[in-house]
Subunit: 107 residues, 2 copies
């Protein structure tokens, strides 16, 4: 099972490199979200960085409403970003790793 | 080195459980950030969920400025949240794991 330790180490290094590459690539994956009939639009990366927020003039009259819409839109976008991020990094981390039944540290 | 496989599996399961517990706990760790002399204040959890956004009335007159301030404040808060998140999860994942020099999948 662990006969080839150096081979296993090589595969771990490889997986590590793939994780780093994937992290960089996720900066270029953009997620758009809109609420309030498009009056609040946000764009975030799959690394959960906010790239753009667009607020319609009509929402500037009610501060509380605007704050609530922003929270909803951003959390929706960040949730999707987090899901994509975890999936992609798990895939990269798993590449070349042995499959141990019942074990899934990267889920 | 791998003499006690079942002992190692037990430690992996333990680490996995600690990761899950830590994820839950990070929902209660709050990070505050303020920009524009406190005219934009945000609160996020260490799991990168936005809990509060507070905008001063004075910023409602300039939409573009407001959007920019929001992006800066939120990204500052999310960056700190991400750092805390990674540190805490790495610590949990490492608990009981063997230390292999040159290998750090959880950094």
């Amino acid at each position: 099972m662990f006969g080839d330790i150096s081979g296993m180490m090589g595969k771990l290094k490889e997986a590590q490199q793939k994780v780093e590459e994937t992290k960089k690539r996720l900066d270029t994956v953009l997620i758009d979200e809109a609420v309030a009939n498009g009056n609040v639009k946000v764009t975030v990366t799959a690394n959960r960085e906010i790239k753009a927020i667009s607020i319609d003039e009509s929402l500037l009259e009610d501060k509380e409403e605007l704050e609530d819409y922003l929270i909803v839109a951003l959390n929706k976008a960040l949730k999707r970003a987090g899901e994509i991020n975890e999936q992609e990094l798990a895939l990269a981390a798993k590449s070349g790793m042995p499959n141990i039944p019942g074990m899934d540290l990267f889920k």
